[in-house]
């Protein structure tokens, strides 16, 4: 696969069976889920509250699924571009919610770091990519001096570093996976893993959830939901992962199950990170970017912790991402 093909040629989109089947199943689920829910509600198995809840979720996914699936099928350029836009919108939400937006210099450093991350990912320049997070953290600590206002220095620096960690560190690693020849199945494996994790936690929590997981942070999460999601997500991720990573160092039962556990745990932790932020700020949703569904951060929270952890886990065992692809395609000396 040449760099140009990988970047913007959708012709090879369905070459890998995992991409094909994930797309088919996703489209199928989007069509079937509301119909099944309506049918179950009609014969009285599902109550009106659950029915409304599920329908609202389906409506959200009808917008989100094409927005996520589209760039992945089109090519890695679109994945990196879309992730950059997502990170900028998430930064807008996070900074407005925490008040960081009033600190324009710190905010500007975060925005520039997001652009730099997208550039390094598009370029496939890994050493530049790894330099962005530590350098921009140091720059945040430096520019936070400039207003000559020691009051609140630690707060604005810490908020800047938090934004960098979640958006440059978290979403950045998601974008960098797009440099792999198998970026479509790998990204879908990760995305489907963290999103199914949410669904599994919701469903098993409703069925078996009694003990609250951490009621002060997130009152609706139960231990039953967390364990149910851990078991189911690990199984599904390991099964799909086997087809994605066939013939590599990742393709052993222990490595695949480990990846599944990592996806499930880090997905749930990402969710709780956002819940903690919202509780601390005493707000309900991070924003109104998605009408009726809260902010984008509320939707993509489970990816924030999972992306860097899974990236380095797979990178260590497989090993690497895009090592057979041309590097520094824009800036090659």
């Amino acid at each position: 696969m040449t760099a140009a093909e990988r970047l913007w040629d959708p012709g090879s989109a369905f070459d890998h069976p995992v991409t094909l089947w994930t797309t088919v199943v996703l489209i199928g689920l989007l069509l079937v889920a509301p119909i099944v829910t309506l049918a179950l509600a009609r014969i009285g198995i599902v109550g009106p509250e659950t029915r409304a809840d599920v329908l609202v979720r389906c409506k959200g996914w009808a917008i989100l699924a094409p927005a996520i699936l589209g760039p992945i099928l089109l090519g890695s350029f679109w994945v990196i571009g879309a992730t950059c836009v997502l990170a900028l919108l998430c930064h807008n939400e996070l900074s407005r919610a925490t008040g960081l937006f009033r600190e324009r210099l710190v905010s500007l450093v975060v925005v520039l770091a997001i652009f730099a991350t997208a550039l390094s990912a598009a370029d496939h320049w890994y050493s530049f990519f790894t330099a962005i997070w530590p350098v921009s953290c140091a720059v945040v600590a430096a520019v936070a001096i400039l207003p000559d206002r020691p009051q609140g220095y630690v707060q604005r620096t810490a908020l800047g570093v938090l934004a960098l960690s979640l958006l440059v560190g978290g979403l950045g690693h998601f974008a960098y996976i797009a440099n792999d020849a198998l970026f479509r199945p790998i990204l879908l494996w990760l995305l489907v893993g963290v999103q199914l994790n949410d669904v599994f936690a919701y469903v098993t929590g409703r069925a078996f959830g009694r003990r609250k997981l951490c009621p002060a942070t997130s009152p609706n999460k139960t231990l039953g939901g967390a364990i149910g999601a851990l078991i189911l997500t690990t199984c599904v991720s390991a099964y799909v992962g086997h087809h994605v990573f066939e013939g590599t160092g990742m393709d052993t039962p222990a490595a695949l199950l480990g990846a599944g556990v990592l996806i499930s745990l880090s997905g749930q932790l990402g969710d709780l990170v956002l819940s903690s932020v919202k509780r601390d700020l005493d707000i309900k949703d991070m924003g109104t970017t998605l009408p009726g569904h809260g902010g984008l951060l509320d939707r993509f929270d489970s990816l924030l912790i999972a992306a860097p952890l899974v990236f380095h886990y797979v990178g260590y065992l497989r090993p690497g991402f895009g090592l057979d692809q041309p590097m520094r395609i824009l800036t090659a000396p």
Binding site: R96, F101, R102, R104, V111, G152, D280, K284
Partner: protein, 239 residues
């Protein structure tokens, strides 16, 4: 160490259309950059085409909040007054614009907020509630309001009567009010013309007044309006 204090955006949770029309609107980095760009262009235009001259800049208070008022005879007035402010204060300067003219459609509201940084006041609903919301914003965020107590552009270009609402905004507070007079705006862009023509613009800035001792009742509001009108007339005589 002081405890951390989070101040989420005051307009958090509002939809886009609601945010545009909220007097609690706050812009982020992109909005700030856009507005800086718009102001660079506006200032260049006013300087080059209208030879804008500003007298009495030393009368502007160094500390915010304060209110700038002037005669109103043209769409030039708000941008002319804002152009007289130093860059630091201009960022937090909000012209109070008629909601029924500038905020009816989303397109108009977007223009008014990005280019003018305007906050809306609906002329048919400018009672205690609306003015209280504006006063809260003015004091809490220590910003600058630019407003025209006549309430509308004078069709003949002459100074009309001042409405009592300006008194209601500042009576019993230490908020400074800076009287100004804008000369030439009516000739360059009178209310009956769609687009501006040529003509020089001059702004005269008077000494700030404050009305801490004035009672916050109708009689007080009206006396403030009268006093401010005289102050604007005094600025006019100086130009």
């Amino acid at each position: 160490m002081e405890p951390w204090e989070y101040r989420p955006a005051q307009d958090l949770g509002l939809s886009r259309a609601e945010r545009l029309r909220s007097v609690r609107r706050e812009v982020g980095l992109a909005g700030w950059l856009l507005s800086r760009l718009a102001w660079a262009l506006i200032r260049a235009y006013l300087r080059l085409r209208h030879r804008l001259r500003i007298e009495g800049r030393e009368n502007l208070p160094e500390a915010t909040p304060f209110v700038m008022i002037a005669n109103h005879a043209s769409h030039f007035d708000a941008i002319t007054l804002c152009a007289a402010l130093p860059a630091q204060q201009r960022v937090s300067a909000f012209p109070i614009a008629a909601g029924d003219t500038f905020f009816e459609t989303d397109a108009a509201a977007t223009f008014a907020t990005i280019v003018m940084n305007a906050l809306p006041l609906w002329r048919r609903r400018c009672g205690a509630h609306a003015l209280d919301a504006l006063r809260t914003r003015l004091v809490e965020d220590a910003c600058v309001f630019v407003l025209f107590p006549e309430g509308t552009r004078a069709r003949d270009g002459r100074l009309g009567t001042f409405k009592a609402g300006i008194g209601r905004l500042v009576a019993g507070t230490s908020i400074a009010v800076v009287p100004c007079y804008i000369d030439g705006a009516h000739t360059a862009w009178p209310p009956d013309r769609r687009f501006p023509g040529p003509g020089r613009l001059r702004v005269s800035i008077g000494r700030p007044l404050s009305f801490e001792q004035t009672e916050n009742r109708r009689a007080g509001w009206e006396s403030i309006a009268t006093e401010l009108r005289q102050a604007v007339e005094a600025c006019a005589r100086r130009t």
